[in-house]
Symmetry: C2
Subunit: 432 residues, 2 copies
């Protein structure tokens, strides 16, 4: 079964351009249908896709094996091969994910804020899909299902472009999606997975203004930077998760230690992990005396400001200026002792990535100030940054976390994939 267009067919890539234009037109037509599809039909499609995946586990596994073999041949590193692998458990998770999205409330058509105006008209808002969403991602083939499910549920057509190393897995999954869509009576173009490994397909996608309404990149920083730089379509993205915990001098020390440990060591490679700890000078000695051995115990490498190094010369090595702006995604933590909350907020707003930052304090006014003044997509009081997550926030599911300010900010769930239009009800009303 042919799964990919040949790599670079002709010099000016006419075939690729035609193919992408066709994908775009098909998506636009499917989006018109999907925008007004009944919730029951969308949910049926999600369930059918889950059934087909369950029935085709063997095919998916064998296509995934091809990708794994090619990946090993091409010398992909161990972490990348791990992300590429579709185990039985991961296929189970894909199926559960589909079933779970089917149970979520449908955001489309929701009417809110309906109120009478002095003129006599009623004005409110109706939630509507964005249209066509382009998703560009890397090696994890399960993103194909996650992204397709959230776009479908929110009434959007989607165009998915996965990594070239996962092309066989993604195409196998796509065939399941197509069957599920058709079985539920929806257009097979409601979800489309680009079937070429030609890198130029990404460049074309980023500029299909007529047929794509928003682009969501999911992957490493270099992918996201490329997408942000080249796209002429709006992008929902986050670049870094350089999260801070600030331990105030009015913190409850046991809460502070628990939160800092959890924020750093729960998982290292995630965007909501703490990368820099800030501690108020007045409590630094006491807090660090408890926290430093605990972190060292967990195998965390510590880099600190000069005062930190004085306190724990054997455990903490000097941090360079670069450390304060580095998302380690690893068992490394930078620690800075600050004069007070003002200096902490300044550090966070200047050095951070506007992702997620927390204060630990028992002081009401400082908690209030911190919430107001820290310019991040999630700001927390006495809670671990590890909570920054669509499921934990009750969004049901998450397509990504946005650190931009326009449209969606923070974890982006189904509502983040929709817009609102105004609706006006009158009874023959005219404006004077």
């Amino acid at each position: 079964m042919s799964v990919a267009l040949p790599d670079k067919i002709d010099s000016d890539n006419t075939d690729l351009k035609q193919y992408m234009a066709q994908v775009g037109q098909q998506a636009r037509r499917a989006a018109d249908e999907l925008a007004i599809a009944e919730p029951a039909r969308k949910n049926a499609a999600l369930s059918k896709i889950a059934e087909v995946i369950d029935a085709q586990r063997a095919i998916i596994a064998s296509e995934n094996f091809k990708d794994m073999r090619n990946g090993e041949r091409d010398g992909l590193d161990k972490a990348m091969l791990d992300r590429l692998l579709l185990t039985e458990a991961r296929i189970d998770a894909m199926i559960e994910g589909l079933q779970q999205v089917a149970t979520l409330a449908d955001p489309v058509g929701e009417i809110s804020e309906m109120a009478y105006r002095p003129s006599g008209i009623q004005v409110g808002k109706m939630r509507v899909p964005l249209g066509v969403i382009g998703i560009i991602y890397e090696s994890r083939p399960n993103v194909t299902i996650d992204a397709a499910a959230l776009c479908l549920k929110s009434g959007n057509a989607s165009i998915l472009r996965g990594g070239k190393e996962a092309i066989h897995s993604n195409q196998a999954i796509y065939r399941c999606i197509e069957q599920g869509l058709v079985q539920a009576g929806l257009s097979q173009h409601s979800v489309q997975v680009i079937n070429t490994i030609d890198r130029d397909a990404v460049g074309l996608m980023l500029n299909m203004r007529e047929s794509i309404d928003v682009i969501i990149p999911r992957g490493g920083k270099s992918l996201i930077e490329r997408v942000a730089a080249e796209a002429s379509i709006p992008v929902i993205k986050h670049l870094d998760g350089l999260c801070h915990v600030y331990i105030d001098d009015r913190a409850d020390q046991s809460k502070a230690v628990a939160i800092a440990l959890n924020a750093k060591t729960r998982r290292y490679g995630v965007c909501n992990a703490m990368e820099t700890l800030l501690v108020a000078n007045a409590v630094a000695e006491s807090v660090l005396a408890e926290l430093v051995p605990a972190l060292i115990d967990q195998g965390v490498e510590l880099r600190g400001c000069s005062r930190c190094c004085q306190l724990h010369p054997k455990q903490i090595s000097p941090a360079s200026d670069e450390d304060w702006e580095t998302e380690y995604l690893a068992p490394i933590l930078s620690i800075r002792i600050v004069d007070d909350m003002d200096q902490a907020i300044e550090h966070i707003n200047q050095r951070g990535s506007h992702h997620t930052d927390a204060i630990v304090t028992e002081d009401y006014s400082r908690a209030h100030q911190f919430l107001r003044r820290v310019d991040s997509s999630s700001v927390m009081v006495n809670a671990s940054t590890a909570f920054a997550d669509g499921f934990e926030y009750g969004l049901g599911a998450e397509i990504g976390i946005s650190t931009d300010k326009l449209h969606a900010r923070g974890p982006v769930g189904l509502k983040g994939l929709t817009s609102q239009k105004y609706i006006v009800l009158g009874d023959g009303h005219t404006r004077s």
Copy 2:
């Protein structure tokens, strides 16, 4: 008093670049202050600015006179000169506008959707300013006040770039704004008006990603197209207002006639005026028999489909294909007789501009269908398109109308100039 940098100072415009960079840095610093300014201080600034404008009417008028004289010398057309003119009544309106914005509820800091999650944390949203807003506009100097007031109230710093023909008026108004800001104890850079007529300033503004968060163009289509094409910063815009009224065969004819007349003839040069009327075939003869003479009476030129022309050969001339995609902004109306609502919706979604479209019908299901299926920023039932307006919708004031889907859609008021961040409250909570 010097009001403008010289036009094109040096070949590579180093001075202009330095000037713009400085404006950007000043705006960013002012935005940090303004984001956490007390509502009372922002309102005091709005009141002070109103007082200073009232006290300096003579100076504003004499600076405006310079612009008018230059405009006449440069051969500006009558409509442009009218937009440029600051009469006493228009200065009154500026003062009233400022006072009215001061009375609006402050959107910043509003907390909503705060709820406990199963983990025990409380999650909600806090409304925050966008940061720095760039406004690019044309000849109307009163936009300087409107835009400054809305940005200030919503906690955003603003960089305003008016038309070169209004430079003296805008600078005179700006000096009033500066005085008011300083009197209220806010940074004078909370609002900045670019003081050069060099067109390159616009190009620079559109790419100041570090210091401007969103650009809002206000003016004619060519300005907005330029801004959309050149900006690397998100843009809130609408290009066209090609609004439709569809008169269904289950319409109440008296409501239909009143709404169509109001939507077309209330004001011709506005974006919410009806440009195309669609009438269901079954009632076309009866509706047009009443409506055509009424429109002709008001001096409206009628262009129609072949069936329209058959019904009223003397009053309606044949419409070209272009007519269905033209925003006349003039006493001209195109009329098409359609088979049914489906054909009307297809026409609106394909030929319209996604601004504002209305159905007149007494049929419940059709009203419901029309609201769902028409893909416009405002969709109305039995009401005139003339209601599409921030004041009529209860937004208090309006900086523009967005026909895009991301972030803000429809009339954009104070909330449209803000974003929401997540806030999380715990009591030492860690994630398992």
